[in-house]
Amino acid sequence: MRHGKYPLIVTFLVPPVLLYVVFVVSPYLQTFQISTTDWLGYSADANSVGMANFKALWNDDYVWNALKNNAILLALVPVLTIVLGLFFAAMLNMGGRKGRAGVSGVRGSSFYRTVYFFPQVLSVVIIALLWKEVYHPNKGLLTSALNGVGLSAPTWLGDPKTAFWCVLAVMIWSNVGFYVVLFGAAMSAIPKEIYEAVMLDGASRLTTLWKVTIPLLWDTVQVAWVYLAIFALDGFILVQLMTNGGPNFSTDVIGVRMYDTAFGSETKFGYASAIGVVMFFLTLTVAVLALRVSKRDRIEYS
């Protein structure tokens, strides 16, 4: 049957590879090519301008401002999401006081599990609109709550000082649920014997989490890190729908800049492609770095 192997492989492999080439690789390559032109998007003509778009990018304050915001997101979103995700997952899976060896969740953990997962069920667009209303400066939930206890509230999305943090909070809120489930699943795969041994040695719950659970989850955390880092470099949908980069560019991110340059206030597709190319390399670098920095020896427990 040896000679029958290749037709099979080819049949199964060619369609997905072809799709991947047509819909992923080829647009990427075209983007690289378009980024060296002055294409304005509504005619077939484009002149090659070499690296001029990239030179202009280097001097574009708005792009740097957007990159700065992405950098802050990159520094905070993964860390906060993972910490919160780990904490919640730990509480749900092994936070309970009762039960043997501390390996059951807090009371009502199945309820919380569902609640945490809610945001994941909603489409990002719904999340953005929902939070836009929560942040409504006159009758939003937050303002009403603060006013209710006699505090004055900021205008949330209307103030450059608060808008960015409001969006960041939504990013974390909408992501945590998924990682609670992800970490939860990984935790339940950890053999209970390990916890029993740890308990016998008299370790506290915090020590257990820090010294046992997290090291055993490291692979999962690493994956989460890469995903979240890529997410933080994007953030396009939430920002575009909630603030469109405003007020005064305080919530601008590189994805919004790219979109605005091609489809928004201008039609500079060549320049927007150059932004896309920069994004491509940034994302790639961040993914590689995230994997490298978090690289540790793999722990096998089977």
């Binding site: 998007g41 077939a44 400066p137 006159n138 489809f263």
Partner: protein, 472 residues
């Protein structure tokens, strides 16, 4: 996914890239269309009955922006077209995403015949014009009007209608509606409280004080789209310094934003910020939210165009009776009288240069610009058209009737600016951001004008943006 995978994929992509880059040069940007010539286009014989040379059996594709006006009005115009040319088949579609939907078709060289390029997803006209993507509508202007005897289409239009759609002297964009920009208030509220709209700025501030004392915020605005407030501010400056203030801004003249008139206007408007005459939290509201707060009586004034009434139809209480008024005069030294108001043609329609049925597109415009077509539009969507006098005999809703009155009073003193058409980014991004800072009180008048000027300068210095000069 692990690191090795990523590296392997990158390497593979890199290998692929080298030979493929050349091939791909002909992909997204190299689409067809340039050497077809006239082969695929429809042309009929010109005659007195058919001055534009419409091929009577040629299909016509129309794409409408499905926004505040909906699409029913367009279907009515299309029905008038098929009544005239029964053999023509009309392909009608409506979308809110004009640029995303149509961009590939422009590149491909197969755009629709008529595009209503409007809304947030509008294609930047600067880009379209500089790529020669729009057909010249000059022939339409010279053609006789469909049902106003003895006049060409151009003769039937309100003043300024042709100017707004012209780039370097060529009439490329048919702006169908006539929009008046002003300050709106509820007649009901003002009658109840015995307030009267103030004609000078000092009186306006005094009135604001009175309104605030009555427990109502004098002003609100769309904090998330603060460019709405640039309209009354620039209007104040133009009324103070004359129309040349607008021409300088449109032509990107150095320091146009820092002219004495602009300084005077910015100083004046700063007063409502300083004295806290703006509804608290306005800076966090979008246009709908702020307009709704205004309709609910939480604020007395709002700046908007004459589409406001139909946009707010669902939430306006009965008897609210919104009225539009010109911006108050700064003083007796104003070059234009109080009645002068900004009126301009809006709601752009175009025929792509590579459309198959250009003559059909122009003919549809001629139908829209006929008295019958214009009256039908005004009846259906409560908005004025650029056809002079076409609203006569049509019963108008309260707000629109005040728009007509304001327009009549303004007469030949009406003014306009077009920098927002020439350089979409300047208004939508740069002036918008500056207005947000200014009207929330984070910067003062001098910094506001500086920031606007910086934006204008960045457009002026960008060699990839085509520049236009306003004739008048």
């Amino acid at each position: 996914m692990n690191r090795r995978d990523i590296l392997r994929r990158t390497a593979a992509a890199g290998l692929l890239a080298t030979p493929a880059a050349g091939l791909l040069a002909g992909c997204a940007t190299g689409g067809g269309g340039d050497d077809k010539g006239d082969a695929g286009t429809y042309k009929g014989t010109k005659s007195e009955q058919n001055p534009l040379g419409v091929a009577e059996d040629a299909p016509l594709e129309v794409v409408i922006f499905n926004g505040g006006f909906g699409e029913e009005y367009a279907k009515a115009h299309e029905a008038m077209y098929t009544e005239k040319y029964p053999k023509a088949k009309i392909n009608h579609s409506a979308t809110q995403e004009i640029s995303k939907t149509l961009q590939p078709r422009f590149v491909d060289g197969t755009p629709p015949d008529v595009v209503n390029n409007s809304g947030a997803g509008q294609i930047d006209f600067n880009g379209l014009v500089s790529q020669n993507a729009i057909a010249d509508l000059g022939e339409l202007l010279a053609a006789p009007s469909l049902d106003i005897p003895g006049k060409t289409v151009k003769d039937t239009l309100l003043p300024g209608a042709v100017e707004v759609g012209s780039y370097d002297g060529k009439f490329l964009v048919m702006n169908y509606t006539y929009t008046v920009y002003g300050i709106w208030h509820s007649t009901k509220l003002f009658t109840e409280r015995k307030w009267e709209y103030a004609k000078t700025w000092d009186e306006h501030i005094a009135l604001c004080k009175q309104i605030k004392a009555a427990g109502i915020a004098p002003w609100t605005y769309a904090g998330l789209h603060p460019r709405y407030m640039s309209w009354p501010l620039i209007s104040t400056a133009i009324k103070f310094g004359g129309p040349s203030v607008a021409t300088a801004i449109d032509n990107l003249e150095p320091n146009a934003w820092k002219s004495d008139a602009m300084k005077a206007a910015a100083d004046a408007w700063h007063q409502i910020v300083k004295d806290k005459y703006i509804l608290e939290g306005s800076s966090g509201l979008d246009h709908k939210q702020s307009q709704t707060a205004w309709c609910q009586g939480k604020a007395a004034f709002i700046s908007c165009g004459s589409w406001l009434e139909s946009e707010q139809k669902d939430v306006t209480p009965a008897g609210f009776n919104m009225t539009v008024q010109p911006t108050p005069s700064l003083g007796s030294g104003d070059k234009l009288p109080f009645e002068a108001v900004r009126g301009t043609a809006g709601e752009p329609f175009m025929v792509p240069a590579k459309a198959k049925n250009i003559a059909g597109g122009l003919e549809l415009f001629r139908i829209m610009l006929s008295r019958k077509g214009a009256q039908d539009f005004t009846k259906k969507v409560s908005s004025l058209t650029v056809v002079a006098g076409a609203s006569e005999g049509v019963e108008l809703p309260f707000g629109l009737a005040t728009v007509v009155k304001a327009l009549d009073a303004s007469g030949s003193n009406g003014f306009n600016w077009v920098y927002n058409n020439y350089y979409r980014k300047l208004e939508r991004n740069l002036v918008d951001a500056a207005c947000g800072e200014f009207f929330s009180g984070r910067i003062g008048p001098a910094e506001f004008l500086d920031q606007c000027q910086k934006g204008a300068d960045s457009i002026a210095q960008d060699s990839s943006i085509k520049k236009y000069k306003r004739a008048v």
